[in-house]
Subunit: 422 residues, 2 copies
């Protein structure tokens, strides 16, 4: 419990207060604040139960933050409301997100305080849980800059509509969105709690268009993290940008001062792709073929050209007359050397959404990447992969999103303030 | 790597070997066994990364075992094969399950050994992960005892078809199944790996009918475990049977000697119910009403009649003239005192399957309960709840299963041996 709940509450828009807890709250007073407390809860994941990351700052958390183990991602459509309501929603989301990343309830009264005839302003399922490294990251899709909110002139040049990629099998219900929220935590109940409460707060102003749970990170974003495996059973993202490489992060991840949209300085661009893997086909494929497709060994994760996991691939090396790393191998086509040094900060997750009608696992990779400019990074890399990658035989891109991730908010302000006040 | 891989492999049915790794394996020899190893992997969950539970024993693990944090549950239909193939499948599943619970690959060569022109006999995504408390529990549905496999006479009396319960909204695609597997672990990647590999091994003999991932346990099965919260935000299963209460476990969970089906001695009956919660409606319901429906306080989880979480509810107590615990409160109707002392060992999980077309979270509780006889335990309790529980306004039962969980296998034998050899 902290003493800033009352001023925080006063910063909420009136609509937000209604959304949070019904009409009774202000009258009932916010003195009886009940916050989430870190009691004896099971430690879970990477960063330890007690890890928490600051919500406010130059950049949003959840980009270079050491990738947590679990994900709940949601894309939202804004309802038939105007600019003021959208602005109010972002203020309310900022308020609630900052609280939840500290391990507190979404609203000042929590699940058990306030007026008993009002709904709780927190849903309660994370009441006894520490934040477990929770980060909540907001983004704005291209459609937010259409005629509805008077934001057309603020659309950044880099926030392009993604082109069609060869082999795309997109389900339009899994594409796009006006807004997105990426919630990551080492405890899935905490990530789910965040998306649920932010969706509740958005009631009447925005609703979920599509969403995705991920159970296992597929990338490391710091050098201390062990490289994880994707559902092909291979180590993924060995060559990822790491938070410690501050030069690379500045060059490839954050939008620099002087960009076309000044409100995006210190922000980044998020591209998401829902990639279904044809697990059952892959599982009946010879090990030799699996390693040819990836271009790495399955056990160690070493390039097929030799060495160990972090050895640079030698794309020129021959093996039995042919290239040691196949011309169509994923590691070759995705490698910065083959893409004019274009790199991404990848932050993807494994998913299993149950099974399809034929009893096959509906499983794959929910790809997330952050970058300074998708026109120079994700798009050229993916055009190349879509045309040539040997992996294409075993995957299908079914969902897609691109979002401008604004810079972090300063305390007292809110996410996207620069957009509305520029 | 252990020295018993060769004898284990010899116990595999021929079809199992084909399913596991293609025709090349036996010829190539199984000397080059590569097992999963516990390297520096993130600790995760309750029971510690290193926890492992024995697969073989009097009872199957995963019943009284301290409930792990994550679930992957799958129901299977047996394909158009005969009794020998079903029998072979159970042998192959036993072999692979025992290995995986020890943190080893599903087959003797692992993801990276064996003949390079054969598919790996393990899919690899858990290669670097410890078992994290993995248990794999098998069950047999009523339909397994139809005309197909010559097992009609062995069907236990207690393995009834569940009756229709008032308000049931079952989706037939989420009901029943010939076989089931419950995989629980504190690491979801390990649970998913188990179901995936067992499904792979079953190829041509059985395929998934329906499946469910759960991210947060909703019950404690030992006294050391903190009571978790369901997605209503309330503590659940406070009055659950605990492993330490050996008298209760013997009386209410395990099938005793002298039961109608002797092959079930030491087994149990599993009932699963997929329960969708209307999250958005609940979240707009007053705290007072939420607590009336449950019959407990939201914060502490104490009965509305007073005390703290583990205080026995006083169903006679009055409050403002009416009963302190509402006549229709869930805690009253589910309580053993109100059900002729019928109790269940509950082992449920929270789930979020994404969202529906209207942007609402497809979320709820995947209820699992173990018991000695569903006719005296789950069925009468659920008949009572289905007719009267105030919670019914906020839930819908959409999936259902009942399975005979045979006793544990002894080393050298297999799950269900008693059924086939009785």
């Amino acid at each position: 419990m902290t003493d800033d709940t009352a001023p925080d509450a006063r910063r909420l828009s009136r609509r937000g207060l209604l959304g949070l807890a019904g009409a009774g709250v202000v009258g009932a007073g916010v003195g009886f604040a009940v916050d989430r407390v870190a009691v004896a809860a099971p430690p879970s994941g990477n960063s330890g139960a007690a890890a928490n990351y600051p919500f406010y700052g130059e950049h949003q958390s959840g980009v270079t933050t050491a990738a947590q183990d679990r994900l709940h991602f949601a894309s939202y459509d804004v309802s038939d409301v105007g600019r003021a309501d959208l602005n109010g929603l972002l203020k309310d989301w900022t308020y609630a997100a900052a609280r939840m990343t500290e391990g507190r309830g979404a609203g000042p009264d929590g699940p058990v305080g306030g007026a008993p005839d009002a709904p709780p302003d927190d849903t309660g399922e994370a009441l006894d849980l520490p934040p477990a490294g929770l980060t909540i990251t907001f983004g704005f899709g291209p459609s937010l800059f259409d005629h509805r909110f008077g934001l057309t002139a603020q659309r950044p040049d880099a926030l392009v509509d993604l082109p069609h990629f060869s082999g795309d099998a997109l389900d339009q219900a899994l594409v796009g969105g006006d807004l997105c929220i990426q919630a990551c935590s080492d405890d899935p109940q905490v990530a789910v709690h965040a998306i649920r409460n932010l969706s509740r707060i958005a009631f009447g102003r925005a609703s979920i268009r599509w969403s995705q749970l991920g159970f296992g990170r597929t990338s490391s974003t710091t050098r201390a993290q062990v490289t994880p495996r994707n559902l092909f059973g291979f180590k993924d993202g060995t060559a990822n940008v790491r938070a410690e490489d501050t030069d690379q992060v500045e060059r490839h991840v954050w939008v620099p001062r002087g960009d076309s949209a000044s409100w995006m300085t210190g922000g980044s661009y998020l591209v998401s792709r829902k990639i279904r893997m044809t697990i059952e086909t892959w599982d009946r494929t010879a090990l030799r073929e699996q390693e040819r497709v990836i271009g790495r060994t399955k056990g160690e994760g070493a390039p097929r050209s030799g060495g160990s996991e972090f050895t640079e691939p030698d794309f020129a090396k021959k093996d039995d007359g042919g290239p040691a790393i196949d011309a169509a191998a994923h590691v070759r086509l995705a490698h910065p050397k083959q893409n004019d040094a274009a790199v991404l900060l990848r932050r993807g997750y494994n998913f299993v959404d149950g099974n399809d009608d034929l009893g096959r696992l509906a499983a794959g990779l929910f790809f997330i990447a952050f970058q300074r400019d998708p026109r120079e990074q994700f798009i050229p890399i993916q055009l190349r992969l879509a045309n040539n990658d040997a992996m294409n035989e075993y995957i299908r891109h079914v969902g897609s999103g691109i979002f401008a991730v604004p810079p972090g908010a300063t305390k007292g302000s809110y996410i996207g303030a620069g957009l509305f006040e520029s």
